[in-house]
Amino acid sequence: MTKIIILALAAIIASSATASAANFQEATNFVEQTSDNAPKKKKAAKEVKRVVFNVHMHCASCVKKVQENIAFEKGVKDLKVSLDEHTVDILYDPAKTSEQTLKAAIEALGYHASVKAEK
């Protein structure tokens, strides 16, 4: 019995670690792709865009509301919401959605959204 439990635990940790490593690699690619100076190494890089919106969120509930809704918008690949910076950082597939569509989706939740200017 103990052996079974240990084996199961090991399997779960190993499989999750493998899966996470794969995702982590993809996340790294995301950083590379979205950097202005980063060379476009992979074909997939052309299919991903990033947009940062200034969104006036004032509490944790607002953050959750944005997170829970925008995460499931068509074409959204990655999402980071910052209460401190009042930003919603989205990685999306331009073939499936657009800045305007995403802006409209945020505004439909009752928040004003504007594209944050690149520094």
């Binding site: 399997a11 779960i12 829970e68 995460a71």
Partner: protein, 717 residues
């Protein structure tokens, strides 16, 4: 079967989608409970951080060692009610009070949950008659978070907390969720349905309506001991909470709650026509030793609660304010256990008037007055067969318990490095006189990565011996001693905690934490199963010793993004000096518990995988349990076995929808013998004998169970 389930779990964990959602900030959700002026400040000024999905974690900012079970933590398992919400926690151990009623009890710092103060947004709840089933009356999906504070906490809400406080934060009226529905069905036919609706009427008024129905269709007797494993249950629970936020800073909160819960448990016998027969409180006769007359318990709990809170700022910047908290609770407990009848009702009133002054960033004080009144109306009648004759004991009447007092709490902050909270209460207890309760909490962070905490102080509470130990009714034993006396229990708890935040991992929430707490009783109600054979003896500790030392180690890390590992281990050394027996290991108290929780979420949280494994250490069981399945002797004492518990859950999330499936107690470990008794008829324990005891529960009563559920959230547009 087990191998198959484990293999499937492992395989499922290998399949991942590639989406991810993260909200910057600290892990989990910290809700700053200021207690004096509303429980939560939904603003940037409040200590509110949101993270992806931390479940259980230690709060870094709190002065007292506080474990938080966040909304995400409450979704890790089916968490049908509050008791099940603690499965991931080593701090809190959950068990059954007996094998009949389905009543759950918790243990914090190795002591019964009666020594832990339960708070509902800083109002004391689950007191007296509400306590034994209270954990089943808080639906997990009504909650937003739970905070478990260990040790001697604030004096503001009274000093009934001896081992700590557990504060429940409900879904808020200000949540922009006009509709939330949760439904879950378990493989044993237990079903839960929860509905919540938060509505805002303008920016001043908001309300939340919370509804709950649960019950089971079928009952089972998996271990074939003649007693059903869980009672037939049906619960209705409805609450409505309001919030008013005025332009001038005035806040008013009020709400009501109504509850009705019925449960029928015990023997399930087959009559001559092949029909299943269960306990009938009207016809049961302990003297009927020949016919089909099953023993059982029939319990009806009904309660109504109402509360009102108001906070008024006295200065423009709210540095000075006053607040009033008032609470009324009516609890009616109609309970029958074989030939025992305990009919009781309790009216409880609580009022707390506070004045808070934040002089500057370093100095703040709170002073106030408070009073608590409990009025018990009891009718007790019990007949047992003892020493070859039938013994009857009765009492009935009205008992008023009142305490009123003044308190003050001073808080000093030296920047982020050091803070101290010194509290003092002076309370007058009806028929017990005046008592002073000091409490002190210190927090020191020499460097950003290390937090050291220490606290100590006195706790006082009135015992309600029978309902505090509801399991005693599920026995054939004679009650002796002062079981109808509301003794004022008195304990001192001291302890500390060191947390080291390690700068590794994918988040800033990697930590290693150690804590130690000791609770020493000056007065306690002892419920002694071992003083005389087939007798439960209730007596005061007086000058004898009773103490508990509790050690705990916590480790939390997110080694890679979205994969969290939480490991905790708790060791308890609990001793009590029993009459004619001397200092012994406290019975039915597990020595240790270890919990490992693994959680992995794919990007954007579309898939969430949870796995929890716990190992539960042995506890000293009563001598009369020798020979029962799994019980082993060591150095003249008898111990329960070490056993594992495994849980797994997979959640798939869609826009507005979550669906989940889970498996509980994967190893199918159960306490096989849960009904004690030396006389058996056809292999089934005879409940009419004095040695009958269904309260000796040390392990899980239910085997492997699967569940499937959904959550639907409609967001306000």
């Amino acid at each position: 079967m087990k191998r198959t389930i484990l293999s499937i779990l492992a395989m499922v964990l290998c399949t991942n989608a590639y989406v991810f959602a993260q909200v910057y900030g600290n892990s989990g959700q910290i809700i700053d409970t200021t207690s004096i002026y509303g429980e939560r400040q939904d603003s940037l000024d409040a200590a509110v951080f949101v993270s992806r999905q931390a479940g259980n974690y230690l709060s870094k900012g709190k002065e007292i060692r506080t474990e938080v079970i966040s909304a995400a933590g409450l979704c890790k398992m089916a968490c049908c009610n509050l008791a099940e919400s603690f499965e991931n926690s080593a701090s809190v151990t959950v068990g059954y009070s007996d094998a009949v009623t389905g009543a759950r009890q918790i243990r914090l710092l190795g002591l019964s949950g009666t020594y832990t103060q339960m708070l509902d947004e800083n109002r004391p709840v689950m007191r007296g008659l509400s306590a034994p089933f209270g954990l089943s009356y808080v639906p997990g999906q009504w909650l937003e978070s739970i905070q478990i504070a260990k040790g001697s906490s604030s004096v503001i809400n009274g000093v009934e907390s001896m081992t700590g406080q557990i504060n429940l934060e409900h879904r808020k009226p200000t949540d922009e969720k006009p509709l939330f529905i949760n439904g879950v069905i378990m493989s044993d036919t237990k079903m839960d349905l929860n509905i919540a609706s938060s509505l805002q009427m303008g920016y001043k008024w908001s309300t939340v309506i919370l509804g709950h129905v649960s019950g089971n269709i079928l009952t089972h007797d998996m271990n074939k001991d003649g007693f059903i494993d869980e009672p037939k249950m049906l619960q209705f629970n409805l609450a409505n909470r309001w919030l008013y936020q005025g332009d001038n800073g005035v806040q008013i909160r009020f709400g009501v709650r109504a509850l009705r819960d019925s449960r029928l448990g015990g023997q399930s016998l087959t009559d001559e026509n092949g029909k299943k027969v269960m306990y009938d409180k009207h016809t049961y006769d302990i003297r009927n030793t020949t016919g089909i007359d099953p023993w059982g318990s029939d319990i009806l709990n009904q309660s109504i609660n109402g509360y009102f809170k108001i906070g008024i700022p006295l200065t423009e910047n709210n540095s000075q304010n006053i607040a009033l908290v008032a609470d009324y609770n009516f609890q009616d407990l109609g309970s029958y256990f074989g030939s025992t009848q305990y009919l009781a009702s309790q009216h409880s009133g609580f009022a707390n008037l506070l004045y808070q002054n934040e002089i500057n960033e370093s100095h703040k004080f709170t002073v106030g007055l408070s009073a608590t009144l409990d009025r018990y109306i009891e009718d007790f009648n019990r007949t047992v067969f003892h020493e070859a004759k039938y013994e009857n004991s009765t009492f009935s009447g009205i008992t008023n318990l009142l305490n009123a007092g003044v308190f003050g709490e001073y808080t000093f902050h030296a920047g982020e490095k050091f803070s101290a909270i010194a509290g003092l209460r002076g309370d007058w207890y009806y028929k017990a006189g005046f008592r002073v309760s000091p409490r002190l909490t210190l927090k020191y962070a020499p460097i950003e990565e290390i937090v050291i905490r220490a606290n100590g102080g006195r706790g006082l509470r009135r015992a309600t011996p029978l309902v505090d130990n509801i399991g005693v009714f599920s026995t054939g034993k004679l009650f002796k001693g002062n079981f109808n006396e509301h003794l004022l229990e008195d304990a001192w708890t001291f302890g500390g905690n060191v947390t080291y935040y390690i700068p590794v991992g994918a988040s800033s929430n990697t930590y290693l934490s150690f804590d130690y707490f000791r609770t020493q009783f000056a007065q306690q109600m002892i419920v002694d199963y071992e003083h005389f054979a087939n007798v439960i003896d209730f007596y005061s500790l007086d000058s004898k010793r009773s103490y508990t030392n509790s050690y705990q180690l916590d480790f939390n890390i997110e080694p890679i993004e979205r994969f969290t590992i939480t490991a905790t281990f708790r060791y308890t050394d609990a001793k009590v000096e029993l009459a004619d027996r001397g200092l012994v290991e406290k019975p039915m108290t597990s020595r240790y518990k270890g919990v490992l929780n693994l959680q992995y979420a794919t990007r954007l949280n579309k898939w969430i995988f949870d796995f929890t494994a716990s190992v539960n250490g042995p506890c000293r069981v009563y001598d009369f349990m020798k020979g029962m399945s799994g019980i082993k002797e060591k150095n003249g004492n008898f111990y329960s076995p070490v056993y594992p518990l495994l849980y797994a859950q997979i959640t798939r999330r869609f826009k507005g929808w979550d669906v989940y499936v889970g498996v509980e107690n994967i190893t199918n470990f159960r306490q096989k013998d849960v009904i004690c008794g030396s006389v058996k008829d056809n292999g089934i324990v005879n409940p009419r004998q004095p040695s009958f005891d269904a309260s000796c529960v040390w392990g899980p009563l239910m085997g492997i169970k699967a569940n499937a559920g959904f959550r639907f959230t409609l967001w306000k547009k």
